[in-house]
Symmetry: C2
């Protein structure tokens, strides 16, 4: 039975140890949004872009769980509809589709010491989550749990009912498929250790990395020790060893304990209502750094102080954009989406600046923020344009990080995770991301190195090319031919076209005219795939013939599809944002284009959760008189797929990409093509949106978007004016936008 109370965050906000001002944007964040329906976000405590997150872990150990990590593909530490809590996982991924991290499981219990998570797990109630804070009540133990975080460390506060009480740290379980940990006692209240992670998405099985940690409690235990699941023995020795195949408790030994499935425990005798606090400091460099992180970011044990600081950090981020009008739910959807955009990429370096170098065992030091968890194929299209606009400092450090990675490894990353290129997804998104940033005016990075890195990826032969493995075909034929049924060849090529377009724009701006021409030409190779018979892109063979048989519908619901990755031909056919006009001509002109695009929505061929088609609804604006279709679809899609509910994200948040789609769309503008520094406009959700721009980069201090909305159902744009000047179409350049004092929308009902 699932017995959690559905107490929403603002009801419980009054119970929180920090003072909540209703006006704070942070009070509009509902961290439960996206925690089911495969949104894969979680309600854990985290600071903006911190690597520490502390998340309730409820995806193992009970048949009552609806989703279990060991029974199916599962990529998130928390599922809203599960019920069996086995601890707080430390350092987690949010909005991803493969299992990784989500380890160092911290669990309070009472009664006799039990270290098997099947047995020590508990149902829970009274969940509360606000940015930087999560708490619940464990029904089995009558324990109140609360957690918070700094950038690199965590704090938990457990309130016990009294009597025999324990704190467990399980190092054997977690989301990651790698195993193996070692721990060592430092003193009565402190242990240190490390655990292996990695192998994300199984493409790069060598991509493993250690997490180092220090754990401290504020109360000296009566007893502490380790446990380890014993390897099963056979024969007569199995009879002699009472621990054979079971969890063995080591109550006396305090030196190194290593193994696949180990843990440590602290045991106490508590008074009723007694609180014990636990801190964990983490580093990806060393145990020493983990300790230094802990000592720098927390002085002593002060749960409320950590919690308040986390909340303030979130408020500082979220208040960069103020919204007025709209419903509370809409504000919640907006600020929660914004919140989800500041989880990844997250910092990697320790307080002393050290970090593990890219694809290397070296430790380097940095003076700027070193970021990690770059799901670039997702984020290059909207998250980074958003950062460029709103948080240029962060975006620049992210670009600098990518260039540092190139300098360290020799390649720009595609899907980087804690120093490892996971080789997940396809293409060369870093090229587009960096070029786009530069073209939007953020240029304080090593442009020469960036350009060199892009050229290397664009020009290196396939066999030596980490990013564009089909580069020989691509450069020779202008397209990637289908050589194996499920080789995703069209999807690969479409990514190269987009990257080459951004690169051509960048080359042009840098004065490399020849390169610019060449890459611009390459970017139009998509035309090879256009099949007039079907009116869609279609896989092509090495000899230039189209792949047969062909069904443009094949690929729905993640079924394999020849030539296309995680989608069908319809999800990819409009995926040439840099040459929509060219595509339009191929399709037979404006009317045919609009008809075909409308068909995607009418026939339910639009996937709101997969990146290649998420710009589709904006493409109607290419035909000005049909721009109302954009307004309609954006309004419909926001209402249908984004809600103030746990299922309120249409699928994997993809490290903020879905959220960025919602944030932009609710503000009434969207960056439709990396490398084109502009936006497409649509009707905003809110009546007034104030974006506080960073004066270090933009002379305009505030951009205000005002919307005159005659009624709630007036969802169509009637007029747009920028600084009082009427705008004839739906396109606005990045420069015009950032220099606009006011953009005024006038909406109409139909």
């Amino acid at each position: 039975m699932h017995i959690r109370n559905l107490i929403t965050f603002w009801i419980t906000a009054a119970l929180l140890p920090v003072i909540v001002r209703a006006a704070d944007p942070v009070s509009y964040v509902n961290p439960f949004i996206g925690t089911t329906n495969f949104g894969t976000t979680n309600p854990g405590a985290i600071c903006p872009n911190g690597f520490m997150s502390v998340t309730p872990f409820n995806v193992m150990g009970s048949p009552d769980n609806r989703y279990d990590k060991d029974a199916r593909w599962w990529s998130t530490p928390y599922e809203y509809h599960n019920s069996f809590f086995t601890g707080f996982s430390h350092v987690n991924l949010s909005g991803v589709g493969c299992p990784e991290l989500g380890s160092l499981l911290l669990m309070p219990t009472t009664g006799e010491l039990e270290v098997d998570y099947h047995l020590y797990g508990s149902e829970y109630t009274r969940e509360k989550a606000t940015p930087g804070y999560y708490g619940n009540h464990l029904l089995k133990y009558n324990i109140d749990t609360e957690v918070s975080a700094t950038l690199r460390t965590s704090i938990a506060r457990f309130t016990y009912p009294g009597g025999k009480s324990h704190i467990l740290l399980n190092l054997g379980e977690g989301l990651t498929n790698e195993s193996g940990a070692t721990i060592r006692q430092v003193n009565a209240t402190e242990y240190e250790g490390c655990k292996l992670m990695g192998g994300f998405c199984y493409y790069n099985r060598q991509g493993v990395f250690p997490i180092y940690f220090v754990i401290r409690t504020d109360k000296t235990p009566q007893q502490s020790g380790y446990w380890k699941k014993q390897r099963p023995m056979t024969g007569v020795e199995a009879e002699w060893d009472p621990d054979n195949g079971k969890y063995k408790i080591y109550s006396k030994y305090t030196k190194e304990m290593s193994g696949d499935d180990i843990g440590l425990y602290f045991s106490y005798d508590t008074k009723p209502g007694e609180q014990i606090q636990v801190q964990i400091g983490v580093s990806f460099v060393s145990i020493e750094n983990a300790r230094e992180n802990l000592e720098c970011e927390q002085q002593g044990f002060d749960f409320d102080k950590v919690c308040l600081s986390a909340r303030q950090q979130w408020n500082d981020i979220l208040s960069r954009i103020e919204v007025e009008g709209g419903t509370d739910d809409q504000k919640t959807i907006f600020y929660t989406a914004l919140y989800h955009m500041f989880i990844h990429p997250n910092i990697l370096q320790d307080v002393n600046g050290e970090y593990p170098a890219m694809e290397s065992n070296k430790i380097l030091s940095t003076s700027h923020n070193r970021y990690t968890v770059f799901s670039l194929w997702d984020t290059f299209r909207n998250v980074h344009p958003f950062m460029t606009l709103t948080f240029p400092d962060r975006q620049l450090d992210m670009v600098r990080t990518l260039i540092d990675m190139y300098k360290e490894w020799g390649w720009l990353p595609r899907w980087e995770l804690y120093g490892n290129e996971t080789l997940t997804m396809s293409g060369d998104p870093a090229t587009a991301m960096i070029a786009d940033t530069w073209l939007r005016g953020l240029r304080d990075f090593d442009t020469d190195a960036a350009y060199k890195a892009m050229l290397k990826s664009a020009n290196t032969p396939g066999k030596d090319n980490f990013l564009r493995t089909d580069n020989d075909d691509y450069t020779a034929l202008g397209y990637v031919p289908l050589r194996e049924t499920f080789d995703n060849s069209v999807s690969h090529a479409l990514e190269y076209y987009i990257a080459d377009f951004a690169l051509s724009q960048f080359a042009q701006a840098l004065g490399y005219d020849e390169d610019a021409k060449s890459f611009a030409k390459r970017s139009l190779g998509y035309k090879n795939y256009y099949c007039k018979d079907f009116g869609t892109l279609r896989p092509k063979l090495p000899d230039g013939k189209f792949y047969t048989p062909f069904d443009p519908m094949q690929g729905l619901n993640f079924e394999p599809s020849p030539g296309f990755h995680e989608g069908n031909a319809w999800n990819y056919t409009f995926y040439v944002p840099h040459d929509i006009k060219g595509l339009m001509r191929l399709m037979g002109g404006e009317n045919a284009f609009v008809k075909k695009l409308q068909k995607v929505f009418d026939e339910n061929l639009y996937d709101p959760a997969n990146e290649p088609d998420i710009t589709y609804p904006y493409l109607f604006c290419y035909v000005n008189k049909e721009a109302w279709r954009t307004d309609y679809q954006i309004s419909r899609l926001l209402a249908k797929y984004f809600s103030n509910k746990p299922e309120g994200i249409p699928g994997n948040d993809d490290t903020g990409t879905m959220s960025a789609w919602a944030v932009f769309s609710m503000m009434g503008f969207y960056p439709d093509c990396p490398g084109l520094p502009r936006y497409i406009l649509t009707s905003p959700t809110f009546d007034k949106i104030t974006i506080h721009l960073d004066n270090k980069y933009y002379s305009n201090k505030t951009l205000v978007i005002e919307t005159e909305r005659p009624s709630a159902d007036a969802i169509y744009v009637d007029k747009i004016s920028v600084n009082g000047k009427h705008l004839k179409n739906r396109f606005i350049s990045h420069e015009d936008l950032v220099n606009a004092k006011t953009i005024r929308f006038t909406l109409k009902r139909h």
Copy 2:
């Protein structure tokens, strides 16, 4: 098929890299003696009392092995009749009955890298073993292996046939039942790590301890890395991970690798005949100490130098006793037995003096040798009297070690293993061992502490008494009653009597007359068990009645026996060495005693491999006219059970106890009772035995035992003279013996 050539050691000696002088006693050692028939010795390379031993490991991974550690109770890394070699184990136990240590398996291979020992193991031939050296030839790989050792470090030299070549260090397997290791690369040719050991004999499951190590090669590998057996996954993820449930190779990652079943490898491309040397330094304190041990004990890689030094150390030990006459086989049996007595106890401290304190996580430092692996219940009866006589420096350090353990832990140990009391066997043998040493004249230790420690064990109530758990019954009733069928109650009490006798002698000598009287009285409590009906000892109930039903034969062949441990009533009835005359009276006098004792031998009730009865053949000497029976039995037992063959020890060597029996017996004298500083004499095996006494402790430089033997079958003592003076019986005091210039035996045929 078992294809090893049976090349005995002296044939191959000429092939060895060290120069062998025929006269060296070391050339008479055959390390293969005791390597089958459950002798549990091994032919590995070791220095006298060093903790490093390097042993061919052939007890896992092949159905062709006759004895497999995973198929049965198995306690030794090597079995002579097995055929499947899976590497050299580092730090091993010799002559014990429970599995422990025998880990850090070092294996050379060729061809494609294979890390599953079932697959990389090899048959072998051309085994060679001499003290400090072992070598063989791996048939699967055409590799010659050679190993040697210093006190705390090892060196291996592998001669490859050329081509792809590897060195593996397997940390997942070994004899110990504990698992879990961690490793880390230091540089291209060096790794460091630690592994858990312990739980010996399953009595003290908390008795675990880490072994720390550093491994180096003398050639930079082309590639190195780790492996780890992956935990099995279920469901769809199992399909995605190609390593699921298998050994995964980590070829790139070099930071901490931890797990239950991990290893590391170095890969090379070798030239035909190319040699690669590998060193391992070990410590029980820290990795740093392991490295310091390695750097102090080996400068650079010089296999031959290490090998020669080990051989010289052995020669220094063995030449303390010179023998003349006898056959080569007899000399081999003698010197190999002597060799086996200098394996345990072994040193524990690092070159810097640091060691792990007893039953503690503390690290302490020592100025004398700190010994470990005290199988005291075995060794107190003959090994330590031998050390007292022949190697007083060593014996004193062993005594000091026991007293230090008491100071660290609060108790004297019984069966200590690397800082842990394993609680194996029974009784209080350290009391007898220390008292006996003092009574034989070695007194340079903290006598007050020793006496206090003995009193604590003798007088502490049972529930708080680690050593004498039945002390309440014992002190109240004078015996330990049978309270559970298989509680070994009689065996326990017999140990207490022996300890109390030694303690009474010690107390008397120290002037504690009251204590002396009290303990002397306690030591006679064995009479409670004597049952006239059966003429044997018999378990007794708390109410004073004998246990019924009773069969004095029950307990043969290790079957459980009420009241008796690993034996039957006959194996224990004469086990009151301190009051044989009293026992004789109980039995009805000399004739009845001799008759009963003779019955033991006539009816095959004598177990030559279990300690309680191994003094039996000497007890005939209590009746002077029957002493010839001692000569007969000793001669017969030596011939029957001790041979220059792999089966040449009658059972577990018990860390040298069986060997000590042979060494003493072959020299013609035996210490029959701890606490009685004397020996019983019998006909020596050799014509002349010269014992070089340590002048620091004994004024007499050499003790010569000469034997006039009219013919080879003249096995009976006719006359004995000490310094020319006729001896009337078979007893000689320790003082008389050490002061004797010459003891002359004249033998006769019947």
